[in-house]
Amino acid sequence: MPAWTCAARSNGLFLMASSAHRRRAVAKAAIWASALTPAAWLVWRATQGELGANPVEEVLHRNGWWGLVLLTTTLAITPVRRLTGWHSIVRYRRLLGLFAFFYLTLHFSTYLVLDQWLAWEYILEDIAERPFITVGFSAWLLLLTLALTSTRGWIRRLGARWLQLHRLIYLASALGVLHFYWKVKADTREPLIFGAVIGLLLLARVPAVQRMVSRVRTGPALRPGRHVAER
């Protein structure tokens, strides 16, 4: 084997390693870019005066809606991994979760500042007495906890309990959908779609369902067995 082949191979390995690194960097950049696009678009529309007749409501609803979309995306990571075996995507889960929190924080701040003008007597009354606001606020508090403990330091410190704590995202998502469902007047289609998708993603975590899914995945291996059964 000529020396240059060997050189080329090691060079190739080096290239592979660096390209995996580059792929990850590109993927992260893509997530940043796409996750920030809705916010940028909102800012652009605001500067153009194109938020419609009720800009406060538009900003409030847009941010809430994107928060739910990103929360759903975050919840999809684990089932997608299991289904496709594409394990490396778990790397992007924290980033997605933090972007969900980012939009929901914008949503909540819009309510506090632009909608209520920090009129605390009304805000506290809302949180205490309007169930849809109570559940929305609770969901945000849960996500705040998760965002604060999403650092490496907290992961280390909490150990096994970290995973348990971060299962609270299931509850937060369910409360988020309930918040949306209780808010709309008659057209419940959108909150029901969110509810169905999030419901499926949570269902996919139930052990029995997981076993079914993995059986589907390893389907070809089971074929002889089925053959036997058929006979």
Binding site: A53, N54, Q116, F132, K185, D187, R189
Partner: protein, 341 residues
């Protein structure tokens, strides 16, 4: 949705109003200041039968071709009449025409606020007929023109308060509902008026989904309907109603939440029984038959104490009966407004 920029001369469009629609036409003489003064007088005067000085009486631009039909006057059209100087009797500026016509709850065209402006081009407001029946001496089906033409159209500036806690100030053009009711001669049994919106999924694509129980139905007690503030509107900002605002004929009941002001009316029935109204059927716990604006009776899911006026950022306190308490509260004397919400 700027369709037609109205030409240079607003008055000319009044002059070309066809003879058959023309009723008690009066040249638009009010200059800005005069009109402002006119519109800013006390609501109790405002509530009386038409007389010069509070609401300008103008001939209908309805059917006068492009000006009315096109629906959306350009900024210039608004400027020419100088609506910008017109204010409500509480000295509030009008909500921009653009906001009045692009932020609508009209589920027949979709449940988003901007859906009606986008989707209502499928509605054909001419020809149009309105059936009047039930407890009346002379039930009949009227062509829109025959329905409207005996009445004198006037411009009235009203606040519109939505049950969702936003509001507008709108210059409607129309005539008192009471005049129409007198004209059709209710029998002694009539106690309520029931209104029905067109039901035609071809023209109203939102009706293909069962968001509400179509057709949309609204109603008033007869004494409410006879109140001089209750208006049958054919126009807004001096023009025919755009489709998204309920062309060609809608109700405006300014002291009640907006959903009472039913749009695109095809039927009017005098009844003995209280009508089953659309929102009260959809969610009886949340929407009552009366639906009077009341800052002290909250919607089960949100507060009604304050509202956002479109075009303004800060919320403002909601007024009892939307600021028309002096005129209408006697209608509800002795009633528990918390129970009859």
């Amino acid at each position: 949705m700027r369709i037609h920029i109205h030409g240079s001369d607003e008055i000319r469009s009044l002059e070309i109003t066809p003879e058959r629609i023309y009723m008690n036409r009066r040249r638009f003489v009010g200059r800005a200041a005069k009109l402002a003064a006119a519109a800013a007088v006390s609501p109790s005067l405002f509530a009386c039968a038409p007389s010069p000085g509070r609401s300008e009486e103008l001939s209908d631009s309805g059917g006068s071709g492009e000006a009315g039909r096109s629906g959306a006057p350009g900024q210039s059209g608004i400027q020419e009449r100088d609506w910008s100087a017109v204010r409500s009797e509480l000295d509030e500026p009008l909500t921009r025409y653009e906001d009045v016509t692009t932020y609508n709850n009209f589920y027949e065209f979709g449940t988003g606020k901007e859906d009606p402006a986008k989707n209502s081009h499928t509605l054909r407001p001419r020809p149009w007929s309105i059936a009047v029946d039930g407890e009346v001496a002379r039930p009949a089906v009227y062509d829109l023109e025959d329905f409207v033409s005996p009445h004198r159209l006037e411009d009235r500036v009203y606040r519109l308060r939505c049950v969702e806690a936003w509001s507008m100030v709108v210059p409607w053009r129309g005539f008192p509902l009471a005049d129409l009711i007198r004209r059709v001669e209710p029998t002694g049994k009539a106690r309520f008026v029931e209104f029905t919106t067109l039901h035609d999924p071809e023209q109203m694509p939102g009706q293909r989904r069962g968001v509400l129980d179509w057709p949309y139905v609204e109603g008033l007690r007869l004494d409410e309907a006879m109140h001089p503030l209750a208006l049958l509107a054919t126009g807004v900002y001096g023009r025919d109603l755009p489709n998204q605002n309920g062309a060609p004929l809608r109700l405006v009941v300014p002291w009640k939440y907006g959903f009472k002001s039913i749009k695109s009316i095809v039927g009017l029935r005098l009844t003995e029984e209280m009508p089953a109204t659309a929102w009260a059927v959809a969610a009886p716990r949340e929407y009552g038959f009366f639906a009077n604006v009341n800052p002290e009776v909250d919607h089960p899911r949100w507060s009604q104490a304050r509202e956002r006026r479109l075009g303004q950022l800060r919320k403002r306190p909601t007024l009892m009966f939307n600021g028309y308490a002096e005129q209408v509260e006697q209608l509800y004397a002795g009633m528990d407004l918390r129970r009859s919400f």
